[in-house]
């Protein structure tokens, strides 16, 4: 079953460093295409700064719109990365090796992108630093820690710091490798980053323990982040927002969308950097199996949310429920969520034949994220459009071109950053691949030779 190639040290190094040294035409296309969209993104934001939020589609009562939805979406994406690498490290799953690095990088970049949104969508962004980096005494007032919008930065900054340190710590040995093989500015850069790593036993031991320790520490943080993001909505009294289930529901949703995003990323890397020997079908198989569990858990919470929103049978909740289940365009969103988020991908993933087919995995993972974006919009907007009995103040929300280009641009931003990263740093952890080779063993059971792996405990 398991197609495990025995690769030489040199071969591994050369192939995993390929994106650093050679830029394929496709990568150029990527750079230029994403760069163009990025330019639009930057222009949209500056335009919005100059004219103010008037240029968005926001109004009363729709004070929050696309940018917040997108914020939640990117926070969601940012969750899988670290979750995957942490859980797989803790369980010592072999198939973590090619996944962890890229996943963590995706976490960091999507987290940065997410953080951008709440900042630019405030009325006076230049004053917003006061909110995120608050503790300046001359203004004589500290932020109100009772506000969920203060919990947010604290959680997100913790998560960002944590995952960046996590990524860097696991990257030091590869920096040493790069240092010994490069010249010019790259060499100076890698020399600095490698911190003079020499690879003696003690350092390796620390490296191994750090993997476990940091994983164990980052997991609780990762759970808290999206919970706190969910409380931005849940602590308010807006009908359909004020639900106790929001925290775990957002977290599981985040994992669902995030892990799918990791699949997308794996497929892209496999295709763009030709990593067939490292990102193998068995990895898609394993992550697909994980996704079945995650998706089903997500469905459970999704249904809990809907059913217990109807449960009190209050006019307000029912009004909004009816509105978002049956009225255009939310009925379409509902369908998207159910069909793209669960009922197409999961039944497909049940079959190993499909789990081991990269194309299918790629497209299903895309579907999931379309569904999850719709879900975020579906969760957040209707409550505002139909807030309480004030039919006089009910209003539709139409995103302006500016908001749309910001949403579009956010995707380009993450993609662009990922490309840049993989030009400078190896997108797959080289030393972990080699470790995998060192630890690989085989067991003879009768006539069958079973692939095995060395465990230290």
């Amino acid at each position: 079953m398991q197609e495990r190639h025995r690769l030489g040290e040199e071969e591994i190094t050369r192939e995993l460093f390929r994106p650093l040294v050679t830029t394929t035409p496709m990568m150029w296309v990527g750079f230029i295409g994403l760069g163009a969209v990025l330019a639009i993104f930057v222009f949209a934001i500056s335009w919005m700064f100059y004219w103010g939020l008037g240029v968005t589609g926001l109004h009363r009562p729709n004070m929050w719109g696309f940018m917040i939805v997108n914020f939640v979406f990117w926070i969601g994406i940012s969750h899988a990365g670290v979750m995957i690498s942490a859980i797989l490290r803790l369980t010592q799953a072999e198939w973590r090796r090619p996944v962890t690095r890229a996943a963590e990088v995706m976490t960091i970049f999507s987290l940065m992108t997410a953080m951008l949104h709440p900042v630019i969508h405030t009325g006076r962004p230049w004053r917003t630093l006061y909110w995120v980096f608050p503790y300046d005494f001359w203004r004589n007032l500290w932020p109100d820690i009772r506000g969920p919008l203060v919990w947010d930065p604290s959680a997100i900054l913790t998560y960002l710091t944590g995952s960046t340190l996590f990524l860097y710590t696991t990257m030091i040995p590869d920096m040493a490798l790069a240092r010994d093989r490069s010249t010019g500015w790259r060499r100076t850069l890698y020399t600095i980053l490698a911190l003079g790593w020499r690879g003696n036993e003690r350092q390796w031991k620390m490296q191994t323990i750090a993997g476990f320790l940091l994983s164990g520490l980052i997991l609780p943080v990762f759970v808290s982040v999206h919970s706190i993001v969910s409380w931005d909505f849940a602590v308010s009294l807006v009908p359909t927002w004020h639900a106790t289930v929001f925290a775990p529901y957002f977290v599981i949703g985040a994992i669902h969308s995030g892990v799918s995003a990791v699949v997308t990323l794996m497929a892209l890397m496999r295709w763009l950097f030709r990593f067939e020997n490292y990102i193998r079908l068995e990895h898609f198989d394993a992550i697909g199996r994980l996704l079945i569990a995650v998706g089903t858990g997500w469905l459970w919470f999704f249904l809990l949310d809907i059913f217990f929103a109807i449960y009190p049978q209050e006019a307000r909740e029912l009004e909004i429920m009816q509105f978002r289940l049956f009225e255009w365009p939310f009925n379409v969103f509902t369908a998207l969520i159910f069909i793209f988020g669960y009922f197409i991908p999961v039944p497909i993933w049940v079959f190993q034949r499909f789990r081991r087919n990269v194309k299918i995995m790629f497209w299903t993972s895309i579907l999931v994220n379309v569904g999850m974006w719709a879900e975020r919009y579906w969760l957040i907007k209707p409550g505002l459009m139909r807030k309480y009995e004030w039919t006089f103040d009910w209003a539709w929300y139409r995103p302006s071109i500016v908001e749309m280009s910001i949403v579009l641009g956010s995707f380009a931003l993450v993609g662009f950053l990922l490309l840049v990263f993989s030009k400078i740093f190896p997108p797959i952890s080289v030393w972990e691949e080699k470790e995998g080779q060192h630890f690989a063993q085989q067991l003879q059971v009768g006539k069958r030779v079973v692939n095995a792996i060395v465990r230290e405990f």
């Binding site: 030489g8 040290e9 040199e10 190094t13 503790y135 007032l141 500290w142 932020p143 109100d144 820690i145 009772r146 506000g147 203060v150 919990w151 604290s154 959680a155 900054l157 913790t158 710091t161 944590g162 340190l165 996590f166 860097y168 710590t169 030091i172 040995p173 490798l177 010994d180 093989r181 911190l195 003079g196 790593w197 020499r198 690879g199 003696n200 036993e201 003690r202 350092q203 390796w204 031991k205 620390m206 490296q207 323990i209 750090a210 320790l213 940091l214 520490l217 980052i218 609780p220 943080v221 808290s224 706190i228 030393w431 972990e432 080699k434 470790e435 080779q437 060192h438 060395v454 230290e456």
Partner: protein
């Protein structure tokens, strides 16, 4: 200097382990040589080494600091600016818990990384024998010993047909291993 360094380079694991054994036979203690590789091997592959470290103290200290910081910021804000909002108590505990939690975790994470760097003696700016071939997959065995025993070390390293042997004054080259 009182300590001389010798670095033996080996192409594969077996010879490296053999070299380690040879050194031990020649009477070098485990603390006198270290093994350099480009990826971890199961611990103790080259014989038991002292695995003592304090890494697990760091996160605890960090957590304590983070918790304290969180407590000060949250408690301090509410007590020094007694502004009523939404009828919440002037010292509301639940929001404090959330931020103190984040502070605790942040402290723990930062200190863990510091601990990892400290315990693995990074960043390392001192000079020590090293060879880029190690990251290529060769296994290096670095002996630190008194000048008079240097020759002995070189002999021991030679026993396991090394790819190359470096001393502080350049390579001593490979010589056919005497078996």
């Amino acid at each position: 200097m009182a300590i001389r360094e010798v670095l033996g380079l080996y192409r594969d694991l077996d010879s490296a382990v053999a070299a380690a054994d040879a050194l031990r036979e020649a009477g070098f203690s485990r603390s006198e040589f270290e093994v350099l590789s480009n990826a971890p091997y199961p611990e103790g592959t080259f014989g038991e080494e002292s695995g003592i470290h304090r890494l697990f103290v760091f996160p605890l200290i960090g957590a304590a600091c983070g918790f304290a910081a969180g407590l000060l910021i949250t408690g301090g804000t509410q007590l020094s600016y007694p502004l009523l909002t939404g009828g919440k108590p002037l010292l509301s505990i639940p929001p404090m818990i959330i931020i103190m939690y984040e502070g605790t975790m942040l402290g723990a994470l930062i200190f863990t990384v510091l601990g990892v760097l400290f315990e693995s003696r990074l960043p390392w700016i001192g000079r020590a024998l090293y060879d880029p071939r190690i990251t290529e997959g060769y296994i290096g065995i670095l002996v630190r010993t008194a000048p008079e025993r240097e020759a002995k070390a070189i002999d021991a390293l030679r026993k396991a047909n090394p790819e190359d042997i470096l001393t502080e004054n350049g390579t001593v080259g490979q010589q056919p291993a005497r078996s």
